[in-house]
């Protein structure tokens, strides 16, 4: 019995392996100078990317091939580098630039587009990352729903403090909306997006993170911590799924927000791709997270450049390919067609000042407005790799009322003592 299974297994591996070899033969012809490969890590725009690549290939005589992977960015690129088949251009997250750039990326400091953006990513004074878009976090609101339940037009600029937020929630409840808030329980939302605001809104971010690493930070008595957690408490207490907060599904929450069953949710402009799938209300937008602390943070969104492209510097990429890749980035930033692709086809906020096209989706409109006014608090991009997962679990406990605020603060401080900043070791 066991023997015949092994034979079957061997036959199967043989088949798979020979298929792999065939595949390898097929792809070995792409060292051709006019073909560049592009790794796209933004799943929402994969279709648009592929259409664009076809069009671009036809017009410019440079064949662009777009790839996507379900794996995490770092894991996927690791296999590509290990097999010595790097992409000419890879779209990655900011922290991947910090860990990859020095070994694998081309210096882009001399490119034309660098002066047109505030969001290019540099390591040691050299520009490596081309920003694809601007993304920001804040409180998403459904103005139509608020108007329906309060009878008044909603002006987000009137909600500045936690107390303001409480009073509008009270009004909404009085108008018949049972629980006006949705809270995403996903660890990346809780500890990748909400919690980091505590660090990002400190007056000196690096110094504060240093105290966390050294174990001298005192969260319990930190004004920003308490200010943000006070607001979080309001969101938590008015969560439509309060009793089952940790099994609430993201799709359900977003659907309720889109259709006006709830009015507020903490999120970012990337949530539009989900909201958009439902019967979405017309008047939605993003506003800063209301806070009682009076440091101006409650007038700003948190965010900045996102999804950075870098060009491979290894021997597997020819100079002609690198030039074609640089031309492509310039096209994205400064050519009318490229600008249209980013803003109109992909509904992204362009990080370039030269791109004056109006973005269509309402959340991105808000982000664009805050970005143009210079009201974006920068992301902290050295969060440890396990931060969102380990502290996400702690935040979930807090969300489910299994842990009080002091215990949460203590656990966060304990975690940081052994944490390792990402991309900072290089």
């Amino acid at each position: 019995m066991a023997h015949s299974w092994m034979k079957l297994g061997a036959a199967a591996t043989a088949a798979v392996l020979s298929l792999g070899m065939l595949g390898a033969c097929g792809s070995s012809t792409n060292s051709n100078a006019t073909t560049i490969t592009l790794f796209n890590s933004k799943v929402e725009i994969e279709d648009q990317m592929e259409d664009m690549a076809k069009q671009y290939s036809k017009e410019k005589g440079v064949t662009v091939k777009v790839y996507y992977s379900n794996d995490t960015v770092a894991a996927h690129l690791a296999t590509k580098y290990a097999s010595k088949q790097p992409y000419t251009i890879s779209m990655v997250d900011d922290k991947d630039i910090y860990s990859l750039a020095k070994e694998h990326a081309v210096d882009l400091s001399d490119e034309d587009w660098v002066k047109d953006t505030d969001y290019a990513l540099s390591v040691d004074g050299k520009v490596y990352g081309f920003p694809t878009t601007v993304e920001a976090r804040g409180l998403i609101y459904n103005a139509d729903a608020i108007k329906k339940y309060t009878g008044k037009d909603f002006d987000p600029s009137t909600i500045k403090t936690t107390d303001d937020l409480k009073s509008i929630i009270k009004e909404l409840k009085a108008g018949g909306m049972k629980s006006p808030v949705g809270v995403l329980k996903e660890d990346w939302s809780l500890a990748g997006h909400y919690l980091p605001q505590v660090y990002e809104e400190q007056s000196d971010v690096d110094a504060f993170v240093d105290t966390l690493l050294k174990g001298t930070a005192d969260l319990q008595n930190n004004e920003k911590w308490n200010s943000l957690m006070d607001t979080f408490d309001v969101l938590k207490d008015n969560n439509y799924a309060k009793s089952s907060a940790v099994s609430a599904e993201r799709e359900v929450t977003e659907q309720k927000l889109a259709e006006g069953e709830i009015a507020f949710m903490f999120g970012g402009n990337w949530d539009w791709s989900v909201l958009n799938q439902y019967d979405v209300s017309e008047n939605m937008g993003m506003m800063p997270v209301p806070q009682n602390m009076d440091d101006g943070a409650n007038e700003k969104l948190v965010g900045g450049g996102s999804k950075f492209m870098f060009i491979d510097s290894s021997d597997q990429t020819t100079d002609a390919q690198r030039q074609a890749a640089k031309d492509f980035l310039n096209w994205l930033a400064n050519d009318k067609e490229g600008q249209k692709f980013i803003v109109e086809d992909c509904s992204l906020v362009s990080p370039f000042k030269t791109n004056t096209l109006e973005v269509q989706d309402p959340l991105s409109k808000s982000v664009k407005k805050y970005a143009d006014e210079g009201k974006l608090i920068p992301n902290y991009s050295h969060l440890p790799d396990d931060h969102y997962s380990v502290l996400g679990a702690e935040m979930q406990k807090y969300l489910a009322d299994q842990e009080d605020r002091d215990a949460l603060a203590t656990n966060i401080q304990t975690y940081w003592k052994t944490a390792k900043l990402s991309g900072a070791t290089a």
Partner: protein
């Protein structure tokens, strides 16, 4: 040419076993050795350099509390799942070999969950736990009960339930084969000698089916220890990372937290534990095997 010459034998051996042997080396043995080498480096998964760090990855693996917690959960999950899978599978096999009407239909029916991939299965059951059960509870009691997936023990229970549902049909097939291989005359002889049917089952048929048990327990143990797909799609480690099983922790450590060496070391420890349990269990099981 003499057929007893060593070179002839070697040639014959290579002709038949060579291709499979080379492939086995290329896709299993070599990566395995390379994997062991990586446990001695602090490679992050992408960098060009793989700095040698000696045993520090193992030291980290042994002090990684989250890993041992995940391993502990895996043991609990595996023990309960293996017992339940085999009991359910055995009873199903008994039922569908006892000559009930439409038994071929039932055999196919019980086997089908095994044909659905773990990922799909996880999403389907997530829907069942989060929506269907909640809606049924709502209809019966009038208030929405919490989803099982919302509490750590509930999530573990859900994992076990779905695993049993998935594997029982597969193990059932092996038990069915076991039942069929026991000659009917042996049971009849036992009955004539004065056994009642449960005694005949317990003292004659079950001992003769020992190899089926050994196989089923081995298969279900290794599958449970290595489970990842179901864990990922059904609970994703939530809530509070309290349903992260060993394989998922290893993956996260290596690819998400980017401690490739430590993750690899933890994977190796998991492999050794699995191998020891598997070999031990087969050894003990085979020792008492009887042939009819």
């Amino acid at each position: 040419m003499k057929q007893s010459k060593f070179s002839y034998k070697l040639g014959q051996f290579l002709m038949f076993a060579g291709p499979a042997g080379i492939l086995f080396c290329a896709v299993v043995v070599l990566p395995f050795i390379y994997g062991i080498y990586l446990t001695f480096t602090s490679w992050d998964g992408v960098a060009n350099t793989k700095p040698f760090v000696g045993l520090s990855n193992y030291q980290q693996a042994f002090t990684d509390a989250a890993y041992w917690a995940a391993l502990g959960r895996t043991v609990v999950y595996s023990v309960i799942s293996v017992i339940l899978v085999n009991i359910v599978a055995f009873l199903l096999a008994y039922a569908v070999t006892s000559g009930i009407k439409g038994q071929n239909f039932f055999r196919a029916g019980f086997f089908i969950p095994n044909l659905i991939g773990g990922i799909v299965l996880g999403y389907v059951w997530k829907f069942v736990f989060n929506r269907a059960f909640v809606a049924i509870g709502d209809a019966i009691t009038g208030s929405k009960p919490d989803s099982l997936l919302g509490s750590p023990s509930g999530a573990m229970f859900a994992l076990i339930l779905v695993s049993v549902w998935q594997y029982a049909g597969y193990m059932m097939l092996i038990y069915v084969a076991g039942f069929m291989s026991v000659d009917q005359s042996l049971k009849e002889a036992a009955m004539i000698d004065g056994c009642n049917s449960s005694q005949a089952m317990w003292h004659v048929i079950v001992p003769l089916m020992r190899s089926s048990f050994v196989q089923c327990i081995f298969l279900s143990t290794t599958r449970c220890f290595m489970v990842y797909d179901l864990n990922l799609s059904l609970t994703k480690g939530e809530p509070f990372n309290q349903s992260v099983l060993a394989a998922m922790h290893v993956y996260n450590q290596a690819f998400v937290y980017k401690n490739y060496g430590t993750g690899q070391a933890e994977a190796l420890i998991l492999f050794i534990i699995c191998a020891v349990i598997g070999v031990l269990q087969v050894y003990v099981g085979k020792k008492g095997e009887v042939a009819a």
